[in-house]
Amino acid sequence: MHALHLSATSSEEEFAGYVDAIAAAPGCRGRLLDLLREDHPVYDQRGGATVSRMRGWVLVALARGPVSDAALPFLLEELDTGVDPYLVAAAARALRSYPHPRPALAPFVMRALEQIRYRDDPVSFDEYGAYATSTSATGPVREILETLAWLGPHARGVLAKLQSVARSRGLAKQATAAADRALDAIHTAIGNESVDTDSCCELPRSVISACSWPRTDRRDANAIESLPFEDHDGTAVTFEAVFRGHPTIVVFFYTRCDNPLKCSLTVTKLARVQRLLAERGLADRIHTAAITYDPGFDSAKRLAAYGRDRAVRMDGRHRMLRATADVNALRAHFRLGVNFIESLVNRHRVEAYVLDAQGRLAASFERLLWDESAIVERAYELLTESTEDIHAAGPRADDRALPPRSDSPAVGVLASAGVAFFPKCAVCWATYVSMFGVAGLERIPFPAWLEPVLAIVMAINLAFAWLRGWATGRMHGPLLVSAGAAAILASRAAPAWERLGLSGVGLVLVGSMMCAVDSRRRGAERVLATHPGWIDRTRQKAGLRVTPVSLNRLAGSWNLAISCLTTSVRRSTRRRSAAGEAR
């Protein structure tokens, strides 16, 4: 075993020696994962390129042996959000040492290909810190394509995308050969159809829980209660004032991050979270905060501009924050996956947290790009316990200054849904009536009194059909409805003709539809011209705004509704008959 001791002051060569030693020693490979933690002291005060070299070498060392489930989040993170060619290439290579290829890995690999294909820089894994200067060197695209070939049958889900990349003719000569190999591997598998797709379509649970997990052992925030912050407006606040009394969704970022898939996307996703909260009427009850890793540079103005450019809502409940003192305490409380060179971040992971009403960490979403709905859901779950806590604690000073909260999120949701689904025209009403007819009548018991009611309804339908036919000058519809009605009556009258009923339903349906769809104004005008007195009388008696056009539409809607209702009644009647026979 290599006896090297690793410290923050170790040189890159010492680091490489240490990595090689633990990678080769049996039972020590797990220690490689410790070196992939962003906050490991060995990365402190090193430049971004140096950190890439060091982490890349750890990934290369991982590739030399079987990769465990515990290492998978680090590899997937690099494929998911990495933009450094060396790290992405190393992660793709290391993934091929994972002993359980599965379809869930393919989207990560494909996403990496789509993101890195225009930064296909040559890389070298021959020795630590080597940079390729030869045209025969590998690159991230080739490594990713080799990984897709390794996935073979498990990459079927991304076949179309891969074909699209291969057809684009954008790949270099060596990469094209690798793409062909990947396509062959997938195609061969499609022929075999031998993949077990039941057990392997998801990531291992340990991987999912490592990236998104509820914290059962919530640490209290007493140590940083008085930690001072400045928000996007330049207002001075404390941790307690911002995070106590309500659940809060917190993300970390910094404005000088040059990886668009990390900070910029995180803050953009936070804006999406805020919209989701607003849609559910929770924007006042669940707060959000984006805290910068780089408070020395990210002034209030910079924070406000960064948030504004990404459509972030910024007010008293939703803030962009910078810690104005004791950043290390904040870092320790959240156990942030970040490291620095001087005051500037050299590497960080994607991280979002949900804090409960006491400001304690209740859930975290780390490394992989988090889902906005999932984080909102997690915060929503905390509301019940938050409400109890709030009642116990009483109103806080800054809460009293805020406008009153809505009574219940359900009110907002129901109001929105009500407005959206309220029928606003005759066709809407007809559709609703039809829908309820189809959906409801089958379920209700069929009382005896319903039959004469339906007979009356059918008679009205017949009358409207003739009215429409007469108004539009098209008689096909009413004739079909009449024939259908006659057939239904015949089927009810004589059990031997029961099958005729089905044809009757069909004829009523088609006839009513034909009447309903012809809504030309010409027909209505003809009614007005021939029966002006009737229209006026109706209008006066009913005190309604009845016009020839509305009457015509009403008739059409009625026909449409009845066409569906008839179908339902017919089915319901048959079921009742069948039940009677069975008894």
Binding site: G47, R117, D121, P122, Y131, A172, F297, E342
Partner: protein, 287 residues
């Protein structure tokens, strides 16, 4: 219309290809080859042969330097079309890394410049090595500092501070200060330089700009003090005036009678080009 466009495109491609083959021919004079290479970027990534031919010129140390530089520029121009350049990028970056150690200083500087623009780790490593150990330097220190400035994440601040302390040249010191203007921890250094009347005025101007980026509140304090000091240089006072006018708190400035009196004096005693700014300032705050 579409046919015409297609025909025009095909014609452009053909012309570009012809120029490229002429540029690669040793029969032409270097001047002609440079002119033709400048017009050939479209053809570079049309085929692997074209790209390898241009890279061949770039790598060939027997070719005239100006032709090699033109070949590098052609590749760099082609790289702007990111999608079309996709198949060429791997070879291009490898060639630039190779060229960064070329015997010709111009080729080295250009290659490192292009790589630094891509935030390439190899280039950063070489540049930092050169700053720490001058015997390994591939380019002049001021150039290295400029190129490192393309990436705030390069570990260049500590080296830049050393250069400010022990500068190999005035230009290198100036570039080191420019680099540090993105370093939050260097704000006190810039405060000191801004107030130091013995410093070169260019350095004090750089310090004012840096302070505006790093700590605007401090700059306002210093700018006021500089404006009140009638013995300081007019251009420095004019810069301070500009900073207060553009970024100061208008309500606070309008009430500051000492400041307004000082600007009044500047508007009468300063050279004409600074008088104008002072008068504009007064018209804004003494209405």
């Amino acid at each position: 219309m579409t046919k015409k466009r297609k025909a025009a495109k095909a014609s452009r491609k053909k012309t570009s290809r012809t120029r490229l083959s002429a540029a690669l021919s040793a029969k032409q004079t270097p001047k002609q080859r440079v002119a033709m290479l400048a017009q050939a970027p479209l053809a570079v990534c049309e085929s692997d042969t074209n790209m390898q031919a241009v890279l061949g010129v770039l790598r060939n140390t027997a070719e005239p330097t100006e032709v090699r530089l033109a070949a590098m520029d052609t590749m760099a121009t082609a790289a702007f079309s990111v999608v079309a350049f996709e198949p060429c990028r791997n070879d291009y970056i490898a060639a630039l890394r190779e060229m960064s150690q070329d015997p010709s200083p111009e080729i080295r500087e250009s290659a490192l410049g292009l790589l630094a623009g891509e935030k390439d780790g190899f280039a950063q490593k070489k540049l930092l090595e050169g700053l720490k150990s001058p015997e390994k330097a591939l380019v002049r220190p001021e150039k290295a500092l400029q190129l490192l400035g393309y990436d705030v994440h390069a570990e260049s601040y500590a080296v830049a501070r050393d250069i400010v302390e022990n500068p190999p040249s005035d230009t290198a010191r100036r570039e080191a200060l420019r680099l540090l203007s993105a370093d939050a921890r260097s704000a006190p250094l810039f405060e000191k330089l801004l107030r130091d009347k013995n410093e070169k005025r260019e350095i004090r101007q750089i310090s004012a700009s840096a302070l505006q980026a790093l700590n605007p509140t401090k700059l306002q304090d210093h700018a006021r003090a500089l404006l009140l000091d009638d013995s300081d240089y007019d251009d420095i006072r004019a810069t301070s005036l500009e900073a207060i006018e553009q970024f100061g708190d208008p309500a606070h400035v309008a009430k500051d009678s000492d400041l307004l009196q000082s600007v009044e004096r500047l508007s009468t005693t300063a050279p004409p080009k600074y008088k104008k700014g002072a008068k504009h300032f007064l018209s804004k705050y003494t209405r």
